[in-house]
Protein backbone atom coordinates (compact mmCIF):
# COMPACT_ATOMS: atom_id res chain seq x y z
CA UNK A 1 0.00 0.00 0.00
CA UNK A 2 2.83 2.40 0.75
CA UNK A 3 4.19 4.23 -2.27
CA UNK A 4 7.93 3.89 -2.70
CA UNK A 5 10.44 6.46 -3.92
CA UNK A 6 10.46 7.24 -7.62
CA UNK A 7 6.71 7.05 -8.17
CA UNK A 8 5.73 10.67 -7.59
CA UNK A 9 6.68 13.68 -9.66
CA UNK A 10 8.45 16.64 -8.02
CA UNK A 11 5.30 18.83 -7.88
CA UNK A 12 3.35 15.94 -6.34
CA UNK A 13 6.07 15.43 -3.72
CA UNK A 14 6.05 19.15 -2.86
CA UNK A 15 2.26 19.33 -2.70
CA UNK A 16 1.86 16.25 -0.52
CA UNK A 17 4.63 17.37 1.86
CA UNK A 18 2.97 20.78 2.14
CA UNK A 19 -0.37 19.14 2.92
CA UNK A 20 1.27 16.90 5.49
CA UNK A 21 3.03 19.86 7.11
CA UNK A 22 -0.28 21.68 7.54
CA UNK A 23 -1.93 18.59 9.00
CA UNK A 24 1.03 17.93 11.29
CA UNK A 25 0.86 21.45 12.65
CA UNK A 26 -2.84 20.99 13.34
CA UNK A 27 -2.12 17.61 14.84
CA UNK A 28 0.39 19.03 17.34
CA UNK A 29 -1.73 22.00 18.31
CA UNK A 30 -2.78 22.12 21.99
CA UNK A 31 -1.39 18.70 22.74
CA UNK A 32 -1.64 17.81 26.40
CA UNK A 33 0.73 15.60 28.35
CA UNK A 34 -2.11 13.21 29.16
CA UNK A 35 -2.44 12.30 25.50
CA UNK A 36 1.16 11.19 25.00
CA UNK A 37 0.84 7.62 26.38
CA UNK A 38 -2.02 6.87 24.00
CA UNK A 39 -0.33 8.50 21.00
CA UNK A 40 2.94 6.73 21.73
CA UNK A 41 1.37 3.29 22.11
CA UNK A 42 -0.78 3.59 19.02
CA UNK A 43 2.19 4.86 16.97
CA UNK A 44 4.26 1.85 18.02
CA UNK A 45 1.39 -0.50 17.28
CA UNK A 46 0.78 1.05 13.87
CA UNK A 47 4.49 0.75 13.07
CA UNK A 48 4.56 -2.93 14.02
CA UNK A 49 1.21 -4.14 12.71
CA UNK A 50 1.40 -2.45 9.32
CA UNK A 51 4.74 -4.16 8.65
CA UNK A 52 3.29 -7.63 8.99
CA UNK A 53 2.23 -8.91 5.58
CA UNK A 54 -0.60 -11.37 5.07
CA UNK A 55 -0.34 -13.51 1.92
CA UNK A 56 -3.57 -13.23 -0.11
CA UNK A 57 -3.65 -15.04 -3.44
CA UNK A 58 -0.56 -14.35 -5.51
CA UNK A 59 0.23 -11.12 -3.62
CA UNK A 60 0.28 -9.96 0.00
CA UNK A 61 -1.40 -7.20 1.96
CA UNK A 62 -0.88 -5.57 5.33
CA UNK A 63 -3.22 -3.85 7.75
CA UNK A 64 -3.34 -0.04 7.59
CA UNK A 65 -5.24 0.68 10.83
CA UNK A 66 -6.48 4.04 9.52
CA UNK A 67 -9.96 3.53 10.97
CA UNK A 68 -8.96 2.53 14.47
CA UNK A 69 -6.19 5.15 14.61
CA UNK A 70 -8.63 7.84 13.54
CA UNK A 71 -11.24 6.87 16.13
CA UNK A 72 -8.65 6.66 18.91
CA UNK A 73 -6.53 9.68 18.07
CA UNK A 74 -8.62 12.05 15.94
CA UNK A 75 -6.39 14.73 14.47
CA UNK A 76 -3.40 13.42 16.45
CA UNK A 77 -3.43 10.43 14.07
CA UNK A 78 -1.47 12.46 11.50
CA UNK A 79 1.47 12.68 13.91
CA UNK A 80 1.32 8.96 14.62
CA UNK A 81 1.20 8.04 10.93
CA UNK A 82 4.03 10.40 10.06
CA UNK A 83 6.38 9.02 12.72
CA UNK A 84 5.42 5.40 12.02
CA UNK A 85 5.85 5.75 8.26
CA UNK A 86 9.14 7.63 8.65
CA UNK A 87 10.58 4.83 10.77
CA UNK A 88 9.30 2.18 8.34
CA UNK A 89 10.94 3.99 5.43
CA UNK A 90 14.25 4.43 7.24
CA UNK A 91 14.49 0.97 8.75
CA UNK A 92 12.90 -1.29 6.15
CA UNK A 93 12.60 0.79 2.94
CA UNK A 94 8.89 0.16 3.34
CA UNK A 95 7.48 3.22 1.58
CA UNK A 96 9.94 6.01 0.87
CA UNK A 97 11.17 9.40 1.98
CA UNK A 98 9.97 11.31 -1.11
CA UNK A 99 6.58 9.60 -0.83
CA UNK A 100 6.31 10.09 2.94
CA UNK A 101 4.01 13.10 2.55
CA UNK A 102 1.66 11.25 0.20
CA UNK A 103 1.65 8.11 2.35
CA UNK A 104 0.87 10.15 5.47
CA UNK A 105 -2.01 11.97 3.77
CA UNK A 106 -3.39 8.74 2.32
CA UNK A 107 -3.86 7.44 5.86
CA UNK A 108 -4.52 10.64 7.82
CA UNK A 109 -7.42 11.92 5.72
CA UNK A 110 -9.37 8.62 5.80
CA UNK A 111 -8.63 8.36 9.53
CA UNK A 112 -10.27 11.72 10.18
CA UNK A 113 -13.29 10.81 8.06
CA UNK A 114 -13.61 7.47 9.86
CA UNK A 115 -13.45 9.20 13.23
CA UNK A 116 -16.24 11.59 12.26
CA UNK A 117 -18.40 8.71 11.04
CA UNK A 118 -17.77 6.80 14.27
CA UNK A 119 -18.57 9.76 16.53
CA UNK A 120 -21.71 10.81 14.65
CA UNK A 121 -23.39 7.42 14.25
CA UNK A 122 -25.65 6.16 17.01
CA UNK A 123 -25.01 2.46 16.53
CA UNK A 124 -23.36 -0.30 18.51
CA UNK A 125 -19.57 0.16 18.77
CA UNK A 126 -19.01 -3.09 16.85
CA UNK A 127 -21.16 -1.97 13.90
CA UNK A 128 -19.90 1.58 13.63
CA UNK A 129 -16.35 0.40 14.24
CA UNK A 130 -16.66 -1.98 11.30
CA UNK A 131 -18.07 0.81 9.18
CA UNK A 132 -15.23 3.14 10.17
CA UNK A 133 -12.60 0.49 9.41
CA UNK A 134 -14.06 -0.39 6.01
CA UNK A 135 -14.60 3.25 5.04
CA UNK A 136 -11.07 4.29 5.99
CA UNK A 137 -9.56 1.45 3.96
CA UNK A 138 -11.74 2.23 0.95
CA UNK A 139 -10.82 5.90 1.09
CA UNK A 140 -7.13 5.06 1.37
CA UNK A 141 -7.34 2.87 -1.74
CA UNK A 142 -9.24 5.59 -3.60
CA UNK A 143 -6.61 8.17 -2.65
CA UNK A 144 -3.83 5.78 -3.71
CA UNK A 145 -5.51 5.26 -7.08
CA UNK A 146 -5.91 9.01 -7.53
CA UNK A 147 -2.23 9.59 -6.76
CA UNK A 148 -1.13 6.86 -9.17
CA UNK A 149 -3.41 8.01 -12.00
CA UNK A 150 -2.34 11.63 -11.58
CA UNK A 151 1.32 10.54 -11.58
CA UNK A 152 0.99 8.33 -14.66
CA UNK A 153 -2.34 8.01 -16.55
CA UNK A 154 -0.98 4.71 -17.93
CA UNK A 155 -1.94 3.09 -14.61
CA UNK A 156 -5.63 3.36 -15.53
CA UNK A 157 -5.41 1.84 -19.01
CA UNK A 158 -6.25 -1.71 -20.03
CA UNK A 159 -8.41 -4.54 -18.73
CA UNK A 160 -5.70 -5.59 -16.29
CA UNK A 161 -4.85 -2.04 -15.34
CA UNK A 162 -3.19 -1.24 -12.03
CA UNK A 163 -6.38 0.48 -10.88
CA UNK A 164 -8.46 -2.66 -11.40
CA UNK A 165 -5.79 -4.80 -9.76
CA UNK A 166 -5.70 -2.48 -6.75
CA UNK A 167 -9.46 -2.56 -6.32
CA UNK A 168 -9.64 -6.35 -6.62
CA UNK A 169 -6.59 -6.88 -4.45
CA UNK A 170 -7.86 -4.75 -1.59
CA UNK A 171 -11.37 -6.18 -1.23
CA UNK A 172 -10.09 -8.75 1.32
CA UNK A 173 -8.29 -5.97 3.18
CA UNK A 174 -11.50 -3.92 3.49
CA UNK A 175 -13.21 -6.92 5.10
CA UNK A 176 -10.27 -7.69 7.41
CA UNK A 177 -9.89 -4.04 8.48
CA UNK A 178 -13.64 -3.80 9.15
CA UNK A 179 -13.63 -6.89 11.38
CA UNK A 180 -10.43 -5.97 13.25
CA UNK A 181 -11.52 -2.34 13.79
CA UNK A 182 -15.04 -3.32 14.86
CA UNK A 183 -13.95 -5.85 17.46
CA UNK A 184 -11.06 -3.74 18.71
CA UNK A 185 -13.30 -0.73 19.26
CA UNK A 186 -15.97 -2.84 20.90
CA UNK A 187 -13.37 -4.23 23.30
CA UNK A 188 -11.99 -0.78 23.96
CA UNK A 189 -15.46 0.64 24.65
CA UNK A 190 -15.84 -1.93 27.42
CA UNK A 191 -12.31 -2.02 28.81
CA UNK A 192 -10.89 1.46 28.27
CA UNK A 193 -13.63 3.86 27.16
CA UNK A 194 -11.58 6.94 28.08
CA UNK A 195 -9.11 6.01 25.32
CA UNK A 196 -11.72 6.45 22.66
CA UNK A 197 -11.70 9.70 20.94
CA UNK A 198 -14.94 11.25 22.10
CA UNK A 199 -13.53 13.67 24.64
CA UNK A 200 -10.64 16.07 24.43
CA UNK A 201 -9.51 15.17 20.94
CA UNK A 202 -12.62 16.00 18.98
CA UNK A 203 -11.89 17.52 15.59
Amino acid sequence: MHLTDGILTAPAIAATYAGTAVMLRWSLKDMAEEEIPKISLTTGTFFAVSLISIPIGPSSIHLMMAGIMGVMLGRRATLAFFIGLLLQALLFQHGGITSLGANTLMLAIPALVAQQVYVRLSLAPLVKGMMAGALATLLTVILLIMVLVVSQPLFAQGTLSVVRMLIAGHVPLVVIEAVVTGFALQLMTRAKPDWLQEGVLKV
Binding site: L28, P37, G44, I54, S59, L91, F92, L148, V162
Partner: protein, 137 residues
Protein backbone atom coordinates in the same frame (compact mmCIF):
# COMPACT_ATOMS: atom_id res chain seq x y z
CA UNK B 1 3.44 26.64 29.30
CA UNK B 2 2.66 23.05 30.22
CA UNK B 3 1.56 22.31 26.67
CA UNK B 4 4.78 23.72 25.24
CA UNK B 5 6.80 21.62 27.64
CA UNK B 6 4.81 18.56 26.66
CA UNK B 7 5.51 19.18 23.00
CA UNK B 8 9.20 19.67 23.69
CA UNK B 9 9.33 16.43 25.70
CA UNK B 10 7.54 14.52 22.96
CA UNK B 11 9.72 15.89 20.19
CA UNK B 12 12.93 15.29 22.11
CA UNK B 13 11.97 11.68 22.79
CA UNK B 14 10.99 11.09 19.17
CA UNK B 15 14.21 12.69 17.93
CA UNK B 16 16.28 10.60 20.32
CA UNK B 17 14.55 7.46 19.11
CA UNK B 18 15.02 8.43 15.46
CA UNK B 19 18.74 9.18 16.03
CA UNK B 20 19.23 5.86 17.79
CA UNK B 21 17.50 3.95 15.03
CA UNK B 22 19.31 5.86 12.30
CA UNK B 23 22.61 4.97 13.92
CA UNK B 24 21.74 1.30 13.64
CA UNK B 25 20.70 1.42 9.99
CA UNK B 26 22.97 -0.50 7.64
CA UNK B 27 22.68 -1.27 3.95
CA UNK B 28 19.88 -3.74 3.50
CA UNK B 29 17.94 -5.05 0.58
CA UNK B 30 14.83 -5.95 2.46
CA UNK B 31 12.51 -3.86 0.35
CA UNK B 32 8.82 -4.32 0.42
CA UNK B 33 9.57 -5.94 -2.93
CA UNK B 34 12.52 -8.28 -2.71
CA UNK B 35 14.89 -9.63 -5.38
CA UNK B 36 16.47 -12.86 -4.23
CA UNK B 37 19.36 -14.27 -6.29
CA UNK B 38 19.17 -17.98 -7.16
CA UNK B 39 21.51 -20.39 -8.91
CA UNK B 40 22.10 -20.32 -12.66
CA UNK B 41 21.68 -16.54 -12.92
CA UNK B 42 18.05 -16.43 -11.98
CA UNK B 43 16.28 -14.26 -9.43
CA UNK B 44 13.08 -14.65 -7.45
CA UNK B 45 11.11 -11.40 -7.31
CA UNK B 46 8.40 -11.13 -4.70
CA UNK B 47 7.10 -9.34 -1.63
CA UNK B 48 8.89 -9.74 1.65
CA UNK B 49 5.70 -11.10 3.16
CA UNK B 50 5.42 -13.76 0.47
CA UNK B 51 3.85 -13.96 -2.98
CA UNK B 52 4.52 -11.95 -6.12
CA UNK B 53 2.62 -9.93 -8.69
CA UNK B 54 2.43 -11.29 -12.26
CA UNK B 55 2.33 -7.65 -13.39
CA UNK B 56 5.86 -7.05 -12.13
CA UNK B 57 8.20 -5.72 -14.80
CA UNK B 58 11.87 -6.65 -14.42
CA UNK B 59 14.50 -4.42 -16.00
CA UNK B 60 18.10 -5.55 -16.44
CA UNK B 61 20.70 -2.80 -16.94
CA UNK B 62 24.45 -2.78 -17.54
CA UNK B 63 27.25 -0.84 -15.80
CA UNK B 64 26.33 2.35 -17.65
CA UNK B 65 22.64 2.15 -16.85
CA UNK B 66 21.68 1.09 -20.35
CA UNK B 67 18.63 -1.15 -20.41
CA UNK B 68 19.55 -4.60 -21.74
CA UNK B 69 16.17 -6.21 -21.35
CA UNK B 70 12.72 -5.73 -19.89
CA UNK B 71 10.36 -8.57 -19.19
CA UNK B 72 7.81 -10.23 -16.95
CA UNK B 73 8.21 -12.94 -14.33
CA UNK B 74 7.42 -16.54 -15.11
CA UNK B 75 4.62 -18.46 -13.38
CA UNK B 76 6.82 -19.11 -10.33
CA UNK B 77 7.86 -15.49 -9.88
CA UNK B 78 11.33 -16.13 -11.34
CA UNK B 79 13.36 -14.22 -13.91
CA UNK B 80 16.26 -15.65 -15.92
CA UNK B 81 19.01 -13.28 -17.02
CA UNK B 82 21.67 -15.91 -17.84
CA UNK B 83 21.78 -14.89 -21.51
CA UNK B 84 22.78 -11.31 -20.63
CA UNK B 85 26.55 -11.26 -20.08
CA UNK B 86 26.68 -7.50 -19.38
CA UNK B 87 23.97 -7.54 -16.74
CA UNK B 88 24.92 -5.41 -13.74
CA UNK B 89 21.74 -4.41 -11.92
CA UNK B 90 18.19 -5.73 -11.76
CA UNK B 91 15.18 -3.56 -11.04
CA UNK B 92 11.65 -4.74 -10.37
CA UNK B 93 8.46 -2.65 -10.37
CA UNK B 94 4.96 -4.00 -9.80
CA UNK B 95 3.37 -0.77 -11.03
CA UNK B 96 1.51 -0.35 -7.74
CA UNK B 97 4.09 1.65 -5.88
CA UNK B 98 6.44 -1.20 -4.95
CA UNK B 99 9.95 -1.34 -6.33
CA UNK B 100 13.05 -3.40 -5.68
CA UNK B 101 16.64 -3.30 -6.82
CA UNK B 102 19.64 -5.64 -6.64
CA UNK B 103 23.17 -5.14 -7.89
CA UNK B 104 24.33 -8.47 -9.31
CA UNK B 105 27.05 -10.28 -7.33
CA UNK B 106 26.57 -8.21 -4.20
CA UNK B 107 25.59 -9.89 -0.96
CA UNK B 108 21.91 -10.36 -0.51
CA UNK B 109 20.96 -10.19 3.10
CA UNK B 110 17.70 -9.46 4.76
CA UNK B 111 17.49 -7.68 8.06
CA UNK B 112 15.54 -9.80 10.51
CA UNK B 113 12.36 -7.84 10.97
CA UNK B 114 10.98 -8.99 14.26
CA UNK B 115 13.80 -7.85 16.62
CA UNK B 116 13.73 -4.35 15.09
CA UNK B 117 9.94 -4.17 15.23
CA UNK B 118 9.94 -5.37 18.83
CA UNK B 119 12.68 -2.89 19.75
CA UNK B 120 10.85 0.07 18.24
CA UNK B 121 7.59 -0.97 19.86
CA UNK B 122 9.33 -1.20 23.24
CA UNK B 123 10.67 2.33 22.84
CA UNK B 124 7.17 3.62 22.18
CA UNK B 125 5.84 1.50 25.02
CA UNK B 126 8.50 2.90 27.35
CA UNK B 127 7.58 6.45 26.34
CA UNK B 128 3.93 5.72 27.06
CA UNK B 129 4.77 4.19 30.42
CA UNK B 130 6.98 7.14 31.41
CA UNK B 131 4.31 9.71 30.60
CA UNK B 132 1.55 7.66 32.13
CA UNK B 133 3.47 7.56 35.42
CA UNK B 134 4.20 11.27 35.20
CA UNK B 135 0.56 12.11 34.58
CA UNK B 136 -0.63 9.90 37.45
CA UNK B 137 1.86 11.58 39.84
Amino acid sequence: MKKNETRKHLLSIMLTVACFLLATVSVVEAHCMEIEPLEHQRVRVGYDGGGFSPQTVVTVVDDFGIVLEEGRLDDDGLYDYSHLSQAHRILADDGMGHRGEWVIDTDHHTRPKMPVIAGVWMVFGGTAWYYQRKVVK
